[in-house]
Amino acid sequence: MTARDRILDRLRAARPATPQDAGAGADPGRERHVAAHAADARDAGLEARIDAHFAARRENPPPPPHVLAQRMQAALEAARAQAWCASDDAWPAQLAARMRDAGVRRVVVDTATPEGRMLRAAVPDDIEPVAFDRPLQDWKAELFGTVDAGFTVARSGIAATGTLVLAPDAVAPRTVSLVPPLHVALVYASTLHADLHAALHAERWQDGMPTNLVLATGPSRTSDIQQTLAFGAHGPRWTWVVIVTDTKGQQ
């Protein structure tokens, strides 16, 4: 008998006890089918209860993107990220200037997305854009040792907590937002959700997940030494987020 069979057999032997009986004061005389029916009714209600809980704590209708953008920025700053709003056409030059001022020399930028190409066109000569165009193992040491920054376009954002929803793929591999000491993310205000619950439902995560989905909020941190907060534990020490709003020039 395999471990799998032994474990499942033990679990099945313990049924059909319903856990609610233990909590709510059991009625041992209750018919089993009545209990099963009640369990079904509760199940149907579980998602509805979760939805109602989070919906009751959000505005209805949802706030417009510029309000969400302001919240996103404030939440990111509270999480010790640097965040700013920028217009569609102004962000590449602004970002390039900030990177130059911060002393960035090598930055991973893709060549496949419009945003990647815009940033590549905007960086000055002393910043080298690096393409992630081969498997990690072919340049692991180089990525860990020589790259200062990684640029990614977030799938969306969560305004309540300043969270970036990152869906790494062949164009934007997982390590771009993880290994370099500076992570630069671009997120469109139009993609912002009020909270995690809204993001999951609007993007229908339950219909299929990528191999890796990362919800990142600010730079890497730890309080493992005497409850003292320190940044750059293992992931990026600095996180910059450009929130692209449609309105030109609005800061």
Partner: protein, 481 residues
């Protein structure tokens, strides 16, 4: 620092270690400060009590729903993950789990494992098992790294090095990491840890992690962390092995939303942690990084014993936030190492007997004043005080008594003498005639009360009956009962 290495220390020595911890002012100061800090952080997240109570209701409902369907959900999780290209393994015992993981390492010729935080791997003593077979294991969570360097075990499930001061860690790093000068500057200490561990991520053949939640519907492993070492461990090495207790699965991905909120706010007082790392399969064709192999080890190790009993099953609702420890007056004074178990504090007292048997853990349930703080803060409403009382009952039950769901080590604290005293006591109180005789004898013969009253007189003066009973005194005042 007086905390000694905890490897393979039997939990039976709980009393001796508690005594030693209480006599260590340095340790008590560390825990006092840390507990106050964590309580404040949690409180700052739950300003709206109505929201908290409703969220706790949801958390409890999600976990109970999952436990009610546990066998089916485990099979569903296995099916969805397998379809995504992962391999799912089942381990009934720590030995089986260790052998599975070692087998994967051997098959890949792996010599180096880098670890994200995993209490399940602590539970099975994985590091020791692999090291003995020539596979090096390096902990990469800062707190875990610190306790590994010190040759200790975690003293808290969320903050493993909570018993250490920055000075302790400064000395530890100076002594163990070549070229490191002593400092108490936390930023510099963390940067030292970062640089030391960075190469380990590059060199590791296998990354090993725990799992905070698993969703059966999408086959998603949901990992919660702040440092990024979990992401590195699950991303950079070619093979990722995740290990989780069988109780961690929930039915749907959307069910994790309230649990994640409860976990981070209860554990560290954060609205979210820096990373929620959601893994639903190994690297796909065309992807340039991420592990090529993903393994999930499902660990029983006594959980099915708790599951068998309707009341004790609530133990498995736990999401490992540590709030019960942070609010426990006993844990705050003796610290995590005194328990001698992987999971200390109130959750450890109710979980460890299923993992290890009552023979070595029966004392843990008695290390509680039943003040109820643990139950009040539990984000998934586990009735911890009730379960502590239940485990005391099981520990004192006649070992030969036949019950529906016998626990491993039933009757570990059973004493025939004590049982006789209680039988006499209940007999005397159940019969008026016998009670009157007992009362008369106890008050008139009070001088014969023993001076040594076992556990009671270890810390207190002996009990002595009053010269006259309350009933006698009332009768003397003309107020017969």
């Amino acid at each position: 620092m007086t905390a000694s290495p905890m490897h393979f220390m039997p939990p039976q020595d709980f009393h001796a270690r508690s005594r030693a911890a209480l006599d260590d002012p340095h340790l008590r100061q560390s825990f006092k400060g840390a507990m106050a800090f964590l309580q404040d952080k949690r409180r700052s997240q739950f300003g709206d009590d109505d929201e908290l109570q409703r969220l706790r209701d949801l958390g409890e409902a999600v976990r109970q729903n999952a436990l009610a369907k546990l066998p089916a959900l485990l099979e569903q999780l296995e099916a969805t993950l397998t379809a995504a290209g992962a391999r799912v393994h089942w381990a009934a015992t720590p030995e089986e789990a260790n052998a599975i993981i070692h087998g994967i390492a051997v098959a890949r010729g792996a010599r180096r494992v880098v670890k994200g935080k995993s209490m399940a791997s602590e539970e099975i003593e994985l590091n020791h098992y692999l090291e003995a077979r020539g596979v090096a294991c390096l902990e990469s969570d800062m707190g875990e790294y610190i306790v590994q360097l010190a040759g200790e075990k975690p003293s808290h499930i969320v903050m493993p090095a909570i018993h250490k001061t920055r000075a302790d860690i400064g000395r530890l790093f100076a002594d163990h990491i070549p070229g490191t000068a002593y400092t108490e500057d936390v930023d510099r200490l963390i940067q030292t840890g970062r640089h030391t561990l960075r190469q380990a991520f590059v060199d590791a053949d296998i990354g090993l992690s725990g799992v905070n939640f698993a969703a059966a519907d999408t086959g998603t492993l949901w990992l919660v962390e702040n440092e990024g070492n979990g992401r590195l461990s699950t991303t950079v090495p070619d093979t990722h092995i995740a290990i989780m207790g069988i109780e961690k699965v929930v039915e749907k991905l959307e069910h994790i939303v309230p649990l994640a909120s409860l976990l981070t706010r209860s554990a560290t007082g954060q609205a979210v942690t820096t990373y929620f790392n959601l893994i639903s399969g190994p690297r796909r064709e065309g992807e340039l990084d991420g592990p090529r192999e993903l393994h999930l080890v499902l660990l029983d190790n006594g959980r099915t014993q708790a599951y068998a009993d309707e009341e004790l099953r609530a133990t498995l609702q736990c999401i490992r936030c540590g709030a019960c420890m942070n609010h426990c007056p006993v844990y705050a004074r003796i610290g995590g190492h005194a328990y001698g178990t992987t999971y200390p504090g109130p959750i450890g007292a109710i979980l460890s007997p299923h993992l290890l048997g009552l023979e070595s853990t029966a004392d843990l349930a008695t290390a509680s004043s039943l003040c109820g703080a643990c139950g009040d803060v539990c984000p998934v409403r586990i009735p911890i005080p009730k379960l502590l009382v239940r485990l005391r009952t099981e520990a004192n039950r006649d070992p030969r008594a036949e019950v529906e769901h016998p626990l491993k080590g039933q009757g570990a604290k059973y004493s025939r003498g004590e049982r006789m005293v209680w039988r006499f006591w209940s007999g005397a109180f159940a019969r008026p005639g016998a009670y009157r005789t007992f009362r008369w004898a106890a008050t008139r013969l009070r001088a014969l009360a023993p001076k040594d009253q076992l556990g009671w007189t270890r810390y207190r003066t002996p009990l002595e009956p009053a010269p006259r009973s309350l009933a006698d005194l009332l009768r003397a005042r003309g107020q017969p009962l």
